[in-house]
Each structure stands twice: as C-alpha cells, then as structure tokens.
C-alpha cells in the first residue's frame, strides 16, 4: 500500500533529459510520420513514465509497480518538444484512493526546460488488488 505521507510530495529528477532528433524520428515513425519537425503530442510519455516510475519507486512511497495498469492519461502541452530540449521532470502524487481493493494513484509530471514549463501530464495508475 502507498504511504499516505507521500501524497502531495514532489519528487525531482536528478538529471535533465536531452531530447534527440533520432528519438523524435523513431516515435513519429510509429504513427507513420516521416521527417518530423517537432515531437508528436504524446512523445513526453517517453520521459515522464520512466522518470516518475523511478522517482516513485522510492521505498518511502510503497507503490507496487509490478501490478500496475494505466487507467487515464492527460497532457497539457504549452509548446511542442523539439530536438535539443533539456528537460527536467518533477512528479507529484496528486491523488490517491482505494476502491474495491485496487489502489488508484494520480501522478502529475511537469517537464521544464530551464524555468519554462513545456508539458504537464497526469497519469492515473491502478495497482490491481
């Protein structure tokens, strides 16, 4: 079970993530887009899911990632991600509840380039009972 004290806590990724054109190209190719100028709208998940998983695997949080299912996803895109962006990820557990034994956790992740907020994402994750 999740430690209730971790709700509202913000975890900061240690290192900025560098975005390369080849990563954008690979992601865009999956949906049939060639020679992309900017990253596709959902590209940020590549950064936020891995980073928030790492951050929230902190033993003080207590989430069981092995039984996790993706429930909902939301993006607020302030500007498209482009090659050369150096993005830092911060993740906050915004909401937590238990329903029918399942734990339902909403994690907000913000990607900043310096002080500029580029993308905010909300992932609702369900830890199955």
């Amino acid at each position: 079970m999740l430690n209730p004290d971790s709700v509202g806590r913000t975890f900061y990724g240690a290192e900025p993530v560098s975005v390369t054109q080849s990563e954008i190209d690979s992601f865009a190719a999956v949906v049939g887009e060639l020679n992309p100028v900017v990253a596709p709208p959902t590209f940020s998940i590549r950064i936020t899911l891995a980073q928030s998983q790492q951050l929230l695997s902190d033993p003080s949080v207590g989430l069981d990632w092995s039984r996790l299912v993706h429930g909902d996803q939301k993006f607020e895109i302030h500007r498209p991600i482009v090659a050369g962006d150096q993005l830092t990820c911060s993740s906050t557990i915004e909401n937590y509840k238990v329903a029918a034994g399942n734990e339902i956790v909403t994690v907000r992740s913000d990607l900043h380039a310096g002080s500029e907020l580029v993308v905010s994402t909300w992932s609702t994750l369900v830890v199955r009972a």
Binding site: A29, V30, P41, R46
Partner: protein
Amino acid sequence: MVDSGGASMIEVGTKLTERIFWIDRALLKQYADASGDQNPIHQDEAFAKSVGLPDVIAHGMLTMALVAKFVTDWSGGSASMKEFSGRFTKPVIVPAGAQVDLTVNGIVVEVDEQTVRLELTATSNGIKVLGMSKALTFYS
C-alpha cells in the same frame, strides 16, 4: 468582412472522417523501442497470459499516439495539439500474425477564435478501447 479562416471556419457538430489504423505485433515492438516501454505484456504472449490477460495487448499510449495522429493530421500538424486526454476502457488485443483495427472517430464540440475542442472515440474489433477522450487543438 474578411474571414481570417482557421478555427472560425469550423462548425460545432462537424464530424471528422473515420480513420482505421492497423496494429500488429511488429508495431508493438516498434512502439516499445520508440517509447522505452518494454513491459512484456505488450510483446510476450506467454507472459501476458500468465498475468491473466487473454493475449498480448497494445500499449494504451500507442492507442493515444495513433488518436493524436488522427487529430493533428486534421488540425494542422503535431504542433497544433494543446490538450489531450483519454481513459483506457478495454485493452486492444493483438494476437500473433493478426492485424487488428483501431477505428477512430471525432466530433467538434467547441470552437474558439483559434482553437477547436474535439470529443474522440477509438474502438478495436467493435469494442471501445479509449473513452472520455478529448483534444484541444489550434486549427489552421
């Protein structure tokens, strides 16, 4: 008065032309490599079945990536998307050797001077796989 075009030309209730994307195991592998999500439920049939799934399932975020493509091909490219959300209601099941459909539809529900809000649906094999899905885009 000169019409500036863009979003003001679009009417609430406009339906986007339905589009079908085809998903197979090779696309799941390609998405796993591109996204970094190497969860075996999206690639390994024996593993997927061992955790109670009927077969390999597609990444929910692959579904959203394809629905985003549907939206931005209509609205003016990847840079046009401002907000995008959805709920994974049922998994997209991808048997070995099969191509399964992701059938996407959308309708305009709100129009502003610069932006359009859409409600979106996606089904696979007739089953709704993405619900409560909305997008807010610039339109050009």
